[in-house]
């Protein structure tokens, strides 16, 4: 049996985890989830990123969703925000691209030119 202090600490930790998901992280992966993105397979891509983050055991990376970016023909699209760097946008991201971008860009900070859409713009 845990004492009340331990329980409070656990609760605070979980609260922080939940808060972090919408707050500040070193890396934020944003998947476009408009009708266009969903139709192009964005859900599979988001799931792949969530799995990749889980497997990497990194706690400073978060995956979230946004609406349509306005370039529907090039969905699924994702933005990667690395702390203190300009955001990078990728286009036509499938499962394979997601793995590549995660390993190269998210973990090693190297931009994957093959799927690059734009740098520095939202």
């Amino acid at each position: 049996m845990k004492n009340i202090e331990e329980l409070k600490m656990m609760r605070e930790k979980v609260r922080q985890d939940l808060r972090l998901r919408s707050g500040q992280h070193r890396v934020r992966i944003v998947v476009g989830m408009g009708s266009c993105g969903i139709a192009a397979g964005a859900r599979e891509v988001m799931n792949e990123f969530v799995t990749l983050v889980e497997n990497s055991k990194k706690e400073d990376i978060v995956v979230t969703a946004s609406g349509c970016f306005g370039f529907c023909a090039q969905e699924p699209m994702i933005h990667i925000y690395v702390e203190d760097q300009r955001p990078v946008t990728y286009r036509n991201v499938d499962i394979e691209a997601a793995r590549l971008i995660f390993n190269e860009h998210v973990l090693n900070n190297k931009i994957v030119e093959q799927y690059l859409f734009s740098k520095g713009k939202k």
Binding site: R11, S22, R43, M46, A65
Partner: protein, 178 residues
């Protein structure tokens, strides 16, 4: 949209985009039809113009396709889609029905995945999922309760995606066979 699960995700994305933080989903199904009711507390719609693909509030592109597509998906099977503003709260309510035995019916897809995806895409939004069977409504998933349980350490955050999938899949497995 390749299946109904995609449509459902898309409709709930509409709610989130309209500023909703509470979404109620009620699903009733048999082997022959699929009925779904969704209501939210977002900013609401002003009329039926949301069913016109060339009317949209967005600024990123000039057409909105999610609802017109779902309407077509439902009507292609002899079903319907209705949408209206909830006068008391200002939110939106919609319902649609599609006949699964119709030759033009889309596959249902992995509905359970839709709900686990929603929890991950918008963790701050509360979704309550009810399944209606034999006239009885049962609460299957309550995201607020799940968040509380995670906070209290009763459930593990990293396993929650699996948990949501398992709970809803149990309910949907009959329909997933189709």
């Amino acid at each position: 949209m390749k299946d109904l699960a995609d449509h459902l995700f898309d409709i709930i994305e509409n709610s989130v985009n309209a500023g909703a933080d509470e979404v109620i989903v009620k699903i009733a199904y048999t082997e022959s039809y699929f009925f779904c009711f969704i209501s939210d507390n977002g900013k609401g719609i002003s009329g039926q113009e949301v069913l016109d693909p060339f009317v949209t509030s967005r600024t990123t592109r000039r057409v909105g396709l999610g609802l017109p597509l779902l309407k077509r998906t439902a009507e292609d099977t002899g079903g319907y889609l209705k949408i209206k503003r909830i006068d008391e709260s200002g939110g939106t309510a919609l319902q649609f029905k599609m006949y699964l035995t119709h030759i033009d019916a889309k596959p249902v897809g992995d509905l359970a995945r839709t709900f686990s995806d929603i929890f991950f895409a918008w963790p701050e939004v509360t979704v309550r999922l009810f399944v209606i069977r034999d006239g009885i409504e049962r609460l299957i998933l309550d995201f607020q309760k799940l968040r509380d349980e995670i906070e209290q350490g009763l459930k593990n955050y990293t396993n929650i995606r699996k948990h949501i999938h398992e709970v809803s899949h149990k309910e949907f497995k009959d329909i997933n066979i189709i």
